[in-house]
């Protein structure tokens, strides 16, 4: 399942890129995430609590930086997480791209392609899709807010 979010954030391309590549800080913008800790080169561990319908989940897993190209302003990540109690998980390939719009405006493009595994895959696709989109939108908004607060 692919979700694409485009937004314009109130910061320079450099500042936006710096935030995107500062994984613990950027990840803190994902609703429900906590305990982001380094786990080797380009790899981080994290836990995420989320609710989908009647189901409360605590996903724990890793964020891996697959590639980063500062010049092109594009980075690729792999997020893999599982919930042992519910018996399900997610695997997301995410691309983030930053493009300068003006000296203090940057276009942020997020494309996330997610596979739902186990019990999570059994919930209705429409509700999962809506939840995934909401989460990414929230993430993008929070990144924007964080950048705006830094620009002040």
């Amino acid at each position: 399942m692919k979700v694409e979010i485009n937004s314009v954030v109130p910061a320079s391309r450099e500042a936006t890129w710096a935030l995107v590549m500062d994984i613990p800080r950027a990840a803190s913008c994902i609703p429900g995430i906590k305990d982001v800790t380094p786990d080797g080169e380009g790899r981080y561990q994290a836990t995420l609590t989320a609710r989908v319908g009647p189901m409360g989940m605590s996903l724990s897993g890793t964020i891996t930086v697959l590639s980063q190209d500062a010049e092109a302003g594009e980075a690729r990540f792999l997020v893999e997480a599982n919930d042992r109690r519910v018996g399900g998980g997610v695997k997301t390939n995410m691309t983030m791209k930053v493009t300068a719009k003006s000296p203090n405006e940057t276009e942020l493009e997020i494309v996330a392609d997610t596979t739902f595994l186990g019990r999570l895959g059994e919930l209705g696709q429409p509700i999962i899709r809506r939840k995934a989109r909401n989460t990414l939108e929230e993430f993008s908004k929070n990144l924007s807010k964080l950048l705006a607060s830094e620009a002040e």
């Binding site: 609710r51 989908v52 319908g53 009647p54 189901m55 409360g56 109690r85 519910v86 018996g87 019990r119 919930l123 209705g124 429409p126 509700i127 809506r130």
Partner: protein
């Protein structure tokens, strides 16, 4: 089902104590028709279940100066068959009669159904159309929430930690009101609606629309009040043309999830059709001479 510990408190203070002690690990259970299925399917896995069956004082239906107070543990069948409800709130009696099957209505409670937050259920649209509210009780006392504001997201409600929904307050509709609950059931009679609509309408002396509420179920992650459609009719003549134009606005208010009952597009179209019929039938139900 994952095993758990069952608690059978006999009063609300014990309930609050258990909720305090176990927090997120506890789920409150009334009739259990929704929760037990969620637990069987492992969608919900509480370590502690706090059963309300033995808590006294929560299963009566009483007349109040404004309307009626329905205890949260009243079964749906109790509401359906209550002489008081039948006489003063025929919309509610009819709505509860349309819930699932008699057996489920024997078990499921009005409060349990509301806090489950399933957007496909029948009672919320009718209760919201009547302007009902829920009394949330916690150690700190009572908090009254308009049912319109109770539903936040798919299966998510405004119930705060430590709170229990203890009763539902339903104000009497103004005299001269007509109401209806329509449930579009193309599959089987015990199913959830593909689309459902509750409408309550009252008229001025000159026949214009005095007030109106239109609330839809099964067409979004929560019950949805079609405010734009209501605004388009309030204070206007209730002509076919105006009703059609207002019903068309319902399409913008809904945001259905696609499922085996139909595509999002189909449900959106049906929402318009059934909203129009609901307004027409609610008008027709206004008592003669008012």
């Amino acid at each position: 089902m994952i095993d758990f510990e069952y608690h059978a408190p006999t009063n609300l203070d014990e309930v609050f104590g258990l909720l305090d002690q176990y927090g997120d690990d506890a789920r409150v259970m009334a009739g259990g028709t929704a929760l037990v299925i969620q637990m069987k399917q492992r969608l919900s896995q509480p370590s502690h279940v706090v059963g309300l069956r033995r808590v006294g004082g929560l299963n009566s239906i009483e007349k109040t100066p404004e309307g009626v107070r329905i205890g949260a543990l009243c079964t749906q069948r109790q509401v359906e068959n209550s002489p008081l409800i039948g006489e003063e709130f025929p919309l509610l009696a009819d709505t509860f009669r349309k819930v699932a099957t008699p057996r489920i209505r024997n078990m499921a409670t009005i409060g349990g159904g509301l806090v489950n937050g399933d957007p496909n259920q029948d009672p919320p649209p009718s209760l919201i159309a009547l302007g009902a509210s829920a009394v949330m009780t916690s150690k700190k006392g009572d908090r009254v929430v308009a049912l319109e504001d109770l539903f936040i997201d798919y299966y998510e409600t405004d119930v705060q930690p430590g709170e229990v929904l203890t009763s539902v307050l339903v104000p009497r509709a103004p005299s001269g009101s007509g109401s209806v609950y329509l449930k579009f059931l193309p599959r089987t009679a015990d199913d959830y609606g593909t689309v459902s609509v509750a409408a309550v309408v009252s008229r001025e002396q000159n026949g214009d629309c005095k007030d109106i509420r239109i609330v839809l179920g099964s067409v979004g992650v929560t019950p949805i009040r079609a405010k734009q459609a209501e605004d388009a009719l309030r204070g206007k003549p209730l002509t076919d043309e105006n009703i059609r134009a207002a019903a068309a606005l319902v399409k913008d208010a809904v945001d259905p999830l696609e499922d085996f009952r139909g595509s999002a597009e189909y449900k959106t179209d049906m929402a318009e059709v059934f909203a129009r019929r609901a307004v027409e039938q609610a008008m027709a139900a206004i008592p003669a001479g008012s």
